[in-house]
């Protein structure tokens, strides 16, 4: 298929067709058919993406122009797709992991009524469509369409069980926090248009990268990149807009795996990696990105230490890992960040799907305090989950090790303090993941007897995606083996080189001695291993206890009271202002004005009615007076 680049439009259109069929036919399609259509269209996109990837790998990149999306005066924004190394890699991740999760969903959501089942697949397809649009767009506006689309689908899917009020609130929270970030993105786009008159990636980057033609001042670039980063903090759940992601676990588990772990939340990383040249030219923004990323990583990791809901732990872990990726972007390790997006997509999707399998077996139970000893009942889930945990803990030779190590090494080159905090975060990651693992799979079963009786391994539609993802979680890192182990082992870096070429030309490549690199790896792996073994040891013997936790652990259980803080300083004042506006301005002022106008007219007419007496003499008298007045005005004034 040499001309596959000519039909790249089919990649996003296929899921769109699936969305239309499932959405329109949700009342008539059976569960089997809608599940099949939903999965098949994504499989189709995946196969096309593989062909596209092959083409790109052999050196063919492509920009497809379809029509002018906006055409006003000098401003022309085309509906263009850009197929290059970065977008083709994301295409593979989105459609590949997406397909597995669709297959998984056919079994996981099987209890749902067939109408809701089709609706679910329609939303999922729409999400894949939007996400593909986001990564394929050749300018910021097309990216923004996808950016908003994924936000919408995230809202719809978090609130999938919309009859539960808490879930609907979680969906609204996610949507509103995303909107705050989107505003930043939009302002950055406006700024670009105002200064450059174009939003096309190629023209923007070409103009900016060349010092002779660059019309942007340092202030402009810093402003634009900071605003784009605000957009990224919303979508990718970074401080201060991260609190929506843990609440987003209200959605079905496959949704958490697809949207809130593997794909949508990495949109911010994709966007920054895409705009890498802008960020490289704005060192202040890079510092902000690195610090925010690291702070989010640490904060979320500490919270994850004390959570008891299996999905909440994974959610905070996702926030923490996203923080890692931003650290990577901040220190200029763009390849490392994209690499971590890829490996994270594999192992975090695996962990979420594994957690879903556990929840399925436990009959909807999500509290780890009521689990334990599940390894005896669910062999496949247990094995794949263990591999996922090892990958995220950064154990060699699993995938997480390579990507995390690359980010940490770049951080060390920038500033050893960043590296130190990163290693502590990695240790916490290993600790809470194996706490999760031990509490779920090891020790004695702590649930009720009915639950124990109900325990079973999940069907093949669930276990096969788990196995595939487990293989990827183990082997996914081998495309990026660092130089110290194998010369030319970092195939991903070589592959992505053209995308980051102009940035790499500006930043001096850090050279580290091999002994330093070995030392860094040794420290992080040893630290993680200690944390891992300690957690495994302690929590395999976990017993339920009723005693209230105190001190720091109580603060951690309550997530640093960030939600309460936001409620106190933002939500409640806004509610108070709304109440004021409603009770005083709306009820008294606006209603008063409207009703008052009516009352004045009513009262006035009632009074004027007395003039209409029916006495002809009175009318004539008034007429004469009027004429006289006119005369007087005419003659004397």
């Amino acid at each position: 298929m040499n001309n596959v680049l000519q039909i790249v439009w089919l990649i996003p259109v296929l899921p769109l067709i699936g969305f239309l069929i499932n959405g329109a036919g949700r009342n008539v399609l059976s569960k089997g058919i809608s599940g099949f259509i939903g999965s098949a269209v994504v499989l189709g996109s995946f196969l096309l993406s593989v062909f596209v990837f092959m083409q790109v790998k052999s050196g063919n990149t492509h920009v497809a122009h379809y029509f002018n999306f906006i055409n006003v005066d000098m401003l022309k924004i085309g509906f263009d797709f850009k197929i290059d190394q970065l977008s083709s890699l994301f295409l593979l991740i989105i459609t590949g992991v997406g397909f597995l999760i669709h297959v998984y969903s056919t079994s996981y959501m099987h209890e749902e009524p067939s109408k809701d089942f089709a609706k679910y697949f329609a939303y999922l397809n729409l999400f894949v469509f939007s996400m593909l649009l986001l990564v394929m767009g050749a300018n910021y506006v097309i990216m923004f369409i996808g950016w908003e689309g994924v936000g919408l689908c995230s809202y719809l899917l978090i609130g999938y069980w919309f009859k539960n009020n808490d879930y609907t609130n979680a969906a609204k929270k996610a949507f509103i926090m995303n909107r705050i970030g989107d505003l930043g993105f939009l302002l950055a786009v406006f700024w670009l248009i105002a200064k450059l008159g174009t939003v096309d990636y190629q023209s923007v980057f070409d103009v900016v990268a060349n010092p002779k033609t660059n019309p942007l001042t340092a202030f402009d670039i810093t402003g634009i990149t900071l605003l784009l980063f605000v957009g990224a903090t919303g979508k990718s759940a970074q401080i201060p807009l991260y609190t929506w992601l843990p609440d987003a676990m209200a959605g079905p588990t496959p949704v958490s795996a697809l949207i809130h772990a593997a794909t949508m939340v990495t949109a911010g990383i994709y966007m920054i990696a895409r705009s890498n040249i802008l960020y490289t030219m704005a060192p202040h923004t890079q510092h902000v990105v690195a610090v925010i990323g690291l702070a989010t990583g640490v904060l979320a990791a500490t919270i994850a230490l004390k959570q008891n809901d299996i999905k909440k732990v994974l959610a905070y872990s996702t926030v923490s890992q996203l923080g890692y990726m931003f650290l990577g972007l901040g220190v200029g390790a763009y390849t490392g960040a994209v690499f971590h997006v890829m490996t994270h997509a594999f192992f975090k999707a695996l962990l979420f799907l594994g957690a879903g399998s556990v929840i399925h077996a436990m009959g909807g139970e999500q509290d780890m305090r009521n689990m334990g000893g599940l390894n005896k009942h669910m062999r496949t889930t247990h094995m794949t989950f263990l591999l996922g945990c090892l990958a995220i803990a950064g154990m060699p030779p699993f995938s997480g090790f390579f990507s995390k190590d690359e980010i940490l090494a770049s951080a060390y080159a920038k500033n050893p303090v960043l590296w130190g905090i990163g290693v502590i975060t990695a240790m916490m990651t290993a600790f809470y993941m194996f706490r999760l693992y031990a509490m779920t799979f090891k020790g004695q079963f702590r649930g009720t007897h009915e639950q124990e009786h109900h325990l079973h391994e999940s069907p093949a539609a669930i276990t096969i995606p788990l196995i595939v993802l487990a293989i990827l979680a183990v082997a996914g890192g081998w495309v990026g083996i660092p130089e110290v182990f194998m010369h030319g082992g970092h195939k991903l870096e070589a592959f992505l080189e053209p995308v980051f070429a102009s940035s790499n030309a500006i930043t001096a490549k850090h050279e580290m001695s091999h002994s330093t690199e070995y030392m860094l790896m040794g420290v992080s792996v040893a630290g993680a291993l200690v944390a891992l073994l300690y957690a495994l040891n302690v929590f395999s013997k976990y017993q339920k206890s009723e005693k209230e936790s105190t001190g720091i652990s109580k603060i951690l259980e309550n997530k640093w009271y960030v939600d309460e803080l936001y409620n106190a300083i933002i939500v409640n004042p806004i509610k108070a202002i709304s109440a004021f506006l409603n009770n005083i301005v709306e009820r008294k002022l606006i209603d008063g004005l409207v009703n008052g106008t009516g009352k004045v007219v009513n009262y006035g007419s009632r009074q004027l009615r007395w003039l209409q007496s029916g006495q002809v003499g009175a009318y004539v008298l008034l007429m004469v007076i009027g004429i006289l007045l006119l005369f007087i005005i005419q003659l004397f004034l």
Binding site: G614, Q615, V616, G617, V624
Partner: protein, 110 residues
């Protein structure tokens, strides 16, 4: 002859008409007062026309001289038509109220 005498006469007639309309209740009298006002204005028009002719119009074409006088006949014709309508209204008023007192017209309200 001085124009002021005409104006004074016309003004007197017009004021009489107004007072008549205001103070009398008999519809016929009111009607006559209205006619009085109309003719007061007519008189003024004719007088102005005559004076105007004497001063300036004679220098212009001779046919111009009688135009305003002819206008008065038009007004009289229109007034006659108006009288017929007005009298018809009064007749209908009498048939309905057995009176020509205009204050009873307020009965039309209900």
């Amino acid at each position: 002859m001085d124009i002021k005498a005409y104006i004074a006469l016309s003004l007197t007639l017009f004021t009489l008409g107004i007072i008549g309309v205001l103070v009398r209740r008999n519809a016929i009298i009111i009607f006559m007062c209205i006619e009085l006002m109309l003719n007061a204005v007519n008189l003024l028009l004719v007088a102005f026309s005559k004076m105007h002719e004497a001063s300036t119009a004679a220098k212009l074409s001779p046919t111009f001289a009688g135009d305003a006088q002819i206008l008065v006949f038009f007004i009289m014709v229109v007034a006659a038509a108006e009288v017929s309508v007005g009298l018809a209204i009064i007749v209908m008023l009498y048939r309905n109220t057995h009176s020509v007192d205009v204050n009873f017209l307020n009965r039309l309200k209900n």
